[in-house]
């Protein structure tokens, strides 16, 4: 017993010191790649295929939020090669000088990305990022509890549905929706508009069942809640589970979000990082990931490879100009603290 334990420990210690050193495989690539992504946000098959094809071992680490990822990259000591920041985070990271410019000569598959998804406000000249998945926020509601057709954010302020409404526990999303309901921009830096939004949220507070960003899915699936804010991908999966659910994009407009791929300054292997990003933009790979996560892919040729019921679904791939349906969050810099303050006051009220 003692001996086996000792052996086990020795093996572990030994395994620490092997596998170091700069190794180049027969294809001329460095054989390790550190990828830092959201949890459950990629089809595992895709990673395996990449490893087989290029002989590069992918070390895959996950996070649950942009801010966490930022903390880890900022602190130094990490050597992530590819990260997946959302729209506003790209801007913040560029301002701090945390991202490397991409060399688009190595990204031949960038032409497969739809033109409307290039040069977006968070990366105007498209130097630092390529879009990976995108989507909307809308209202998911249970038709057995809510008999009318909802098409507006004001439904979430309706006295009738008191105790049935679930909101995210998130600063920008909640204040953004209140602003949209009032007809303002989600990125406003006008203090008066923000104060109005705060009043709206305070008015709503008595009606809200919970402020939550995860368990709301269980509440919606089991019929415990009547309506909630919802990310597109989750809505798709939930509607499959529970036939009574319906997802709608409110007419006042909503938030469009983009999760992108970028190379942080911590990466010492930009060539391999770009190889990976280029691989992720292959239509068949993009389609696999889009189907796995159930969000929309900006990869036009990838979309064509999806099953028809997904491809033709207007909830996922709205027809017409998507930028008429929503706004992308931009980084508000110093003003972010104002938003934080308002949200804290609402929650503490």
């Amino acid at each position: 017993m003692k001996k086996t334990l000792l052996l086990l420990v020795l093996c572990m210690v030994f395994s620490l010191f092997t596998g170091c050193g700069e190794k180049v495989n027969e294809q001329g690539y460095y054989s390790k790649l550190n990828v830092y992504n959201w949890g459950e946000y990629i089809d595992p098959q895709v990673l395996e295929d990449f490893e087989k094809e290029y002989g590069i071992k992918v070390y895959y680490e996950t996070y649950a939020g942009n801010e966490e990822m930022l903390t880890k990259v900022q602190a130094g000591g990490t050597d992530y090669d590819v990260i997946f920041p959302s729209d506003y985070m790209i801007e913040a990271m560029v301002k701090e000088g945390l991202l490397q410019e991409l060399d688009f000569n190595n990204l031949s598959n960038f032409k497969k990305i739809g033109d409307e998804f290039k040069n977006l406000p968070y990366d105007k000249d498209n130097k630092y990022s390529v879009p990976y998945l995108w989507g909307t926020i809308g209202i998911l509601y249970d038709t057995t509890k809510i008999k009318e057709d909802i098409d507006s954010w004001s439904a979430m302020w309706d006295e009738k549905y008191k105790g049935d409404i679930v909101m995210f526990d998130s600063v920008r999303d909640n204040i953004g929706i209140a602003l949209k309901k009032l007809g303002y921009s989600m990125n406003t830096t006008d203090s008066h508009e923000l104060e109005e939004a705060k009043k709206e949220l305070l008015k709503q507070k008595a009606l809200v069942k919970a402020y939550d960003s995860d368990a709301y899915k269980d509440m919606m699936a089991s019929g415990e809640a009547g309506m909630s804010m919802c990310f597109l991908g989750d809505a798709m999966v939930l509607m499959e589970e529970n036939q009574n659910l319906k997802y709608v994009l409110p007419k006042e407009g909503t938030n469009l979000w983009f999760d992108t791929m970028a190379v942080p300054v911590t990466s010492k292997h930009k060539k391999e990082a770009e190889l990976f990003i280029n691989y992720m933009m292959r239509p068949e790979v993009a389609a696999k990931c889009a189907e796995f996560v159930m969000y929309a892919t900006p990869n036009n040729e990838g979309v064509k490879l999806l099953p028809e019921e997904i491809r033709e679904n207007e909830i996922i791939y709205p027809k017409g100009n998507i930028f008429e349906k929503g706004e992308v969050f931009i980084d508000l810099g110093e003003f972010t603290t104002e938003y934080d303050r308002i949200w804290t006051e609402v929650k503490a009220y």
Binding site: T62, G76, G77, D79
Partner: protein
């Protein structure tokens, strides 16, 4: 009679409160639906997915490797420190005891961030090694606190007697002192092991280079929803611990 009933129902409620959540977790690991609170039928699919998922296996390996190594190393360092503190003069003793208590009282997040800052200053690459160092660091005080009471119970002349009878100081320690304080050492070891297993905060800040632990993996799923795969894994872990307990019970009975 009534008293007995009250006693029994009290015990029942306490244990129900402790074990009902675990029971629910186990039940949902066999649920065909991805969501909790809704029963769609019985399935083994989450277990199948769990065994297919390389990342979970990797995270499991990392978690246990870190916990075992950190617990053993922290126990060795902690035991030596405890003996040193035990032999100090009262004034120094109280200073060192306070220094030992501090990390125990300190919030995890402070430990995590400060270690991260330290590793950054030392230009260390975050990964398995830094994660291990961090875990050893927060484990040591607990080991010291587990071993010290045992040292206080020792007969102070035991060591002298051993030396008088011709033992070298090392022999005296290994053959006389260590067996006496062993229960404390084992307690410290187990405590360190469990603390390592379920730590999230410190691990999150001190890991890198694709080294995930289970707690980080589960936490990072919140964007797209924690799948019942994790329920399946937790069920297996719970069963493992249960099996271990039953084995230990059996051994105690035969001894």
């Amino acid at each position: 009679m009534v008293k007995k009933l009250i006693k029994r129902s009290y015990a029942f409620f306490v244990y129900m409160f402790l074990y009902l959540p675990i029971l629910l977790l186990i039940i949902y690991s066999f649920n065909d639906s991805k969501y909790r609170g809704k029963w769609n039928g019985f399935t083994f699919k989450w277990y199948k997915e769990l065994f297919r998922d390389q990342t979970v296996a990797q995270a499991l390996y990392n978690t246990f490797a870190i916990a075992i190594l950190a617990a053993i190393i922290a126990t060795i360092i902690g035991t030596i420190s405890a003996i040193a503190i035990h032999k100090m003069k009262p004034r120094w003793k109280s200073i060192f005891m306070n220094v030992t208590y501090l990390p125990v009282m300190n919030p995890d997040i402070v430990i995590g961030i400060s270690l991260l800052a330290l590793f950054a200053v030392l230009k260390m690459k975050l990964g398995f090694i830094t994660l291990l160092l961090a875990h050893i660091t927060f484990n040591i005080p607990y080991v010291i606190l587990a071993v010290l009471p045992k040292l206080r119970q020792l007969n102070p002349y035991l060591e002298e007697a051993a030396l008088d009878l011709g033992a070298t100081p090392l022999q005296a320690f290994f053959k006389v002192i260590l067996p006496e304080i062993m229960p404390g050492v084992i307690t410290g070891l187990l405590l360190a092991f469990t603390l390592s297993l379920d730590d999230f905060m410190v691990s999150f800040f001190t890991t890198g280079s694709g080294v995930n632990t289970l707690s980080i993996k589960v936490y990072s799923m919140t964007k797209t929803g924690v799948t019942p795969k994790i329920n399946a894994l937790s069920t297996l872990l719970f069963m493992g611990v249960l099996g271990l307990l039953i084995l230990l019970q059996k051994r105690e009975k035969t001894n």
